[in-house]
Symmetry: D2
Subunit: 174 residues, 4 copies
C-alpha cells in the first residue's frame, strides 16, 4: 500500500501553508528558509493581557525543531545516534506585544557556521499586526554523547545546512 | 477606511482551515460546530516522549475560547462586562498518545444547558493517527462580577448557543 | 564515600517542608500521605488575572510523580523497565481562584485499587486562602511495554501502595 | 483586625527559605539580593529527558517578578498605575542540564541603571549539582501607559533599586 503525505505533515513541518501568509508577512520572512505558522492561543496570554514573554522562546523552539527535522536525513546518514545538538545560549529582542486571536509565522535560518557550532536566527511575525513581534538567535553546539563533550560539525552537517539555506552560510569563530 | 478580514482571523478563529482535514478527521468531529486546528509542537512532549497529559487540557481550552469568541457578539449585545463564564469542573479521557510532528483538530460543542450552567464537550482528533486522542467535558457556570456569585443564563446566551449548535441543546439540571 | 541527603531531596520529594504548612492547611491534607509544596509563580496567571485552569492539572501531575518516585524502589524491585503507568482519565473540580503570590500544598493518595488499575486523588490547598483550591482524581492503568497493552498490578505494587497509605486501599472494579 | 504574615508570603516572595540553601549554593548567589527557591517539576522535562530550555526563561521571570514585588511600594508611592516595566530583550547562557527531582535557587539583581532603562541579571543554581545551570540578563524599559511610549525612571525608582541592591548600581547608556 502506498503511503501518501498526510495533511499538516509536509517537509516544512506542521501547519505550514504558505498560502495563508500575506505578501507583507512573506516579505518579512524572505530570508528564512524554514517557516512554521502557529496560532496564538488564549492561554498563552498572561496577567498583562499579552502573550507572555516566555512563549516567544517556545515559538523559536518550535520553528527550530522543524529546521532540525529537515536536517534529520543528513544526520541519520551519519549512521549514528551518538551525535546531537546542544542549545548553548539564546537572545530575544521583543518588538511588539501579541494578543489572542492571531497567527504567527516563525522563521529560522542558519546565519553562520563554525568548527563545532552554528548560529540560528529566529523571527516571529504577527499576521494581525503585519510586523515583526520578536527576533533573536540561538547558538547551537555539536555534541558527542559518547564522550559527553563538544565535537566538530562534519561535512554532511554542513552540506545539509547549505542545502536548506541555498548557499554556504558565512563562517564564524569557534 | 474599509476593514477586511485578516489571515487567520476567520469566524471560527485561528488557523481554522477545514480543507486541511481528511474525511476521516472531519467525520470524527461531525457533531462539533466549533473546531480549531493546532500543530503539535516539539516542546509539548515530556520525558516519556509523548505529548504531556496537561497539554490536552490546554487544547480543550484553546478550542473552548474560540467557541466563547463566537458567543461574544451576543454577550456584547447584553451591553455589560459584568457577566462572565467560570470553569467549574472538567474531565478528560485519554485515548491515544500523541507525538511531534502532528496536527490536532479540537472540537467543542454544548451538549446540555441548565438554568445557570452548561456542559461543553471537547474532542481532540489526531491527523496523523486519524483517530480520537482524547475527549472530555467542562462545566461552565454563569458568573456575575457585581455580586461575585453565580447568576442565570439569559435569553441571548441561550439564543447564541442554539445558533452555533444549530438546535436547542438538551436541558440539564442546575 | 558516604552520601548524605541533599537539600530539597527528601523522601517526599522537592521542597517538602511540612513546617511551612499552617495547621489549617495540614488539616485539609490529613488523609494525603504524599504532599508537595509549590510556589504559585507569576507566569501561571492568565489574562483573567488568576492561575490558569490548566496549571492545576500540572500541580496534580507534580504531586503524582512524587508519589510515583516513592513507589519507585518497589518497581525497581521487579527488576524490569518494561512496566509503567498510563494516565487513563482525570477529573478536576475548581473550588477557588488562585493568584500570585501564594504557595500551594498538593496532596496525592490512592483511594482504590483494582486488578490492573488504581484511582489517585489530588487536592490543592492554598496557603494564602487556607482552603481547597481544587481537587480531582486520575485513573492509572498498569501497562506492559513489551505487549503494548494493559497488564495486572503485581503484589509488590500493592505492597508499595499500602506502605505509603498506611493501609490497604479499598478495592475497585477493573 | 491585625493582619499577620501568612506562610510563604515573606518579603522575598514565595517559598524563600534561605536555610534550605547549602553554603555552596548561597556562595554562587552572594551578589543577588533577591532569590527564589523553586522545585524542578517533572513536567518541565522535555523529550530529551532534561528540563526544557524554555523553562529557564520562566525561572528568570519568576525571580524577576519577586524583585518587582519588592520594588512595588516605591512604585505605588508614585501614586499612579500609569507606569510600568517593559521587557525589551533577554539573553540566556545554558551551563548545565537539569533533571527532576531538584530544587533551583534563582537570583535577580540590577547591574546597571540608565535614564529610561535598567539591566537585570539572573542566575539559576541547581541544589543537586551545586553549580550554575543558567544565567542571563534582561533589559527593562520604563513605560508610560498614558502616552504608550518609553518614559524616564524617576527618583523613587532609583531609590527603591538602590535600597534592594545595597548600593547605587553603575550607570548605563540609554
Amino acid at each position: 500500500m502506498t503511503e501518501r503525505p498526510k495533511p499538516g505533515d509536509s517537509a516544512d513541518g506542521p501547519l505550514v501553508n504558505a498560502a495563508n501568509r500575506s505578501p507583507q508577512v512573506a516579505a518579512l520572512l524572505a530570508e528564512f528558509p524554514v517557516i512554521v505558522d502557529l496560532p496564538v492561543v488564549w492561554g498563552e496570554m498572561d496577567a498583562m493581557g499579552h502573550v507572555n514573554g516566555v512563549v516567544f522562546i517556545r515559538y523559536f523552539e518550535t520553528s527550530r525543531f522543524t529546521y532540525f527535522a529537515r536536517l534529520g536525513p543528513a544526520l541519520q546518514g551519519m549512521g549514528t545516534a551518538d551525535r546531537g545538538w546542544i542549545l548553548a545560549s539564546l537572545t530575544c529582542r521583543y518588538r511588539a506585544p501579541l494578543t489572542f486571536p492571531d497567527t504567527v509565522s516563525v522563521g529560522t535560518r542558519v546565519s553562520a557556521v563554525g568548527t563545532d557550532r552554528y548560529l540560528m536566527e529566529h523571527r516571529v511575525v504577527s499576521h494581525r499586526l503585519g510586523k515583526v513581534a520578536a527576533e533573536g538567535d540561538v547558538l547551537i553546539v555539536a555534541y558527542d554523547y559518547r564522550t559527553a563533550g563538544k565535537t566538530s560539525l562534519i561535512e554532511s552537517d554542513r552540506a545539509a545546512i547549505a542545502a536548506i539555506e541555498g548557499h554556504d552560510p558565512p563562517t564564524m569563530k569557534g
